[in-house]
Amino acid sequence: MKRLLAFIRKEFLHIFRDPRTMIILFGMPVAQLLIFGFVISNEIRDAKIAILDKSNDQQSREIVHRLLSSGYFRIGAELETESSIEACFKANQANLVVVFEPDFGRKLERNHRASMQLIADASDPNMAEMLSNYVQGIVFEYVNDLNRTIESPTFIQASYRMIFNPALKGVYMFVPGTMALILMLISAMMTSITIAREKEMGTMEVLLVSPLNPFQILIGKLTPYFFLSLINASLILLMAYFVFGLPILGSSLLLVLVSMLFILMALSLGVLISTVAKNQEVAMFISMFALLLPTLLLSGFIFPIENMPKILQYLSILMPPKYFIIILKNLMIKGIGMSYIWKEVAILGLFLLVFMLISIRKFKIRLE
């Protein structure tokens, strides 16, 4: 035990003494979150909207006028028929189409109730969400103004519809995705590099000649990264919660436990990589290609898996981050518990088991 502690202390020294490692460990998560967060909270200016005004009366024109004078929108197209909506999106003339029903103004005056429809191009889900929110805000304000002069309350039902990406995948995805990416990178890449470094420097031989057994060497290598990854996970969650207002609706304890499982999985993957890699460069290279790109592209982080070609969908089954992202989304945003995520947890556990078995075997073989 004392031997192990001496080893772990040495690992911490390596980490804290290397500026590059420190930047990757703590600079990267913060920077990534801020970048993604910035993209999301980006203010909209001059977004293109198209108007399909089937009533063309004073009230509908007033709303359009208010939309345009808000500074957020400009007219991209004036539409005559429903059928031209899709063409308008495809020609990129508008990101949002505002449709007024026939007799909009008269219904509003007589029934105090009228409806309009917002159709957004959700291939950029964040943009779509934001645009329709802005429009609804402006319409709401108009209704408020009306209610001040009319006695009985008026109501405009603004239903909205997202096309091209109806489930609005991507909104709120950046936090679970970033977390998966960061933990994967730190845990797997850093451990594979640090083990490869011992091999490259020739110090691994000295360690293997010493009374430390291979298992202790692995534990000693992994412990610091396990704790630092946990700290990182908390950092990301705290930032998501306080800076970006992402809810954590589910159980925090479960969240921590699942994160630990994912970190362990990534750590064992790192060991696996290090048994293959002869030096730090190779370890880095493998980590980048085996971890970073698939995590970014195939885990559903950036591109919704449902929209991928079939073959990539099958490939994504092999991406551990995919399951972690699903778990995080369910836990944090939907607030549902273990009974809904046990399958994903089990799959992560299976990954952990497989990686661990292979890497322990390979690590031992290498000692021969």
Binding site: A6, L13, H14, G202, E205, V206, L207, V209, E368
Partner: protein, 246 residues
């Protein structure tokens, strides 16, 4: 009374069809400097790696510090020290941190680490450098520190795999002074080298050619047998005959 601290019988290591070590048989006596000589690729490193437990023999018997190398590797590890031709301290740690780490993984108590490091730094005359990073230390010094760290836990035997590779003759001489000091402490030294001037410093030498031990004796006896004035000459003659016979 002289005791054998290493006993090797018919030790063989094959990599596929290539026989790196062919039927090695030798003993190392307690307290001696045992030299392993040979050209690059003669099989020195393969042999030392097996003795340290880094590599498994294909066949043969091997006993180190009184323990069987197949079944008692853990006991062997506690009783040996090792320093390789690749540099074996951590560049990004200070001298003191390196000492503390290696002392720690060999299970020395905190006070033992403190006492021995103080003694070691004083002996080397570098007490004031103990908080300096290894990467900022001149190469010759690094080797001396690495050797001192390798024997910090007072092993029965220390294995040195070309410890003076790439070091100038003066520093090499100083390094050997340290080896003699270790011998005075009762540590047996097993060293591989291809520098012939170093061969003269050993008590006994084994000459390796193409994976086989072709001669084993003291430097004087070897010189006498081959009628040479220098080890270099002995080595050249042996290498030639070895080549013919293989």
């Amino acid at each position: 009374m002289e005791k054998d601290i290493i006993r090797v019988r018919n030790l063989t290591k094959k990599f596929g069809d290539f026989v790196a070590n062919d039927q090695l048989t030798f003993e190392v006596k307690k307290g001696e400097i045992f030299g392993f000589l040979g050209a690059n690729g003669a099989g020195k490193t393969t042999a030392i790696r097996m003795l340290c437990g880094l590599s498994k023999p294909t066949s043969g018997e091997m006993e180190v510090a009184g323990f069987d190398a197949y079944t008692q590797t853990e006991s062997i590890k506690k009783n040996i020290g090792y320093m390789s031709q690749k540099f074996s301290l951590y560049d990004d740690l200070t001298i003191w941190e390196n000492i503390r780490f290696f002392g720690g993984i060999y299970g020395l108590s905190r006070s033992a680490i403190r006492d021995r490091s103080k003694e070691m730094l004083t002996r080397l005359g570098i007490v004031n450098l103990s908080n300096r990073l290894i990467r900022d230390i001149p190469p010759g010094w690094k080797q001396k520190i690495a050797f001192s760290v390798a024997i910090l836990h007072k092993p029965q035997i220390v294995f040195l795999d070309e410890p003076t590779g790439g070091v100038d003759p003066v520093t090499r001489r100083q390094f050997w002074d340290l080896i003699y000091e270790a011998i005075d402490q009762g540590i047996t030294v097993f060293v591989t080298t291809h520098y012939m001037d170093e061969a003269e410093y050993c008590h006994r030498l084994s000459m390796m050619v193409n994976g086989r031990i072709v001669a084993l004796d003291s430097p004087e006896a070897l010189k006498q047998r081959f009628g040479s004035i220098s080890m270099n000459d002995v080595f050249v003659q042996l290498a030639r005959t070895g080549e013919k016979s293989s």
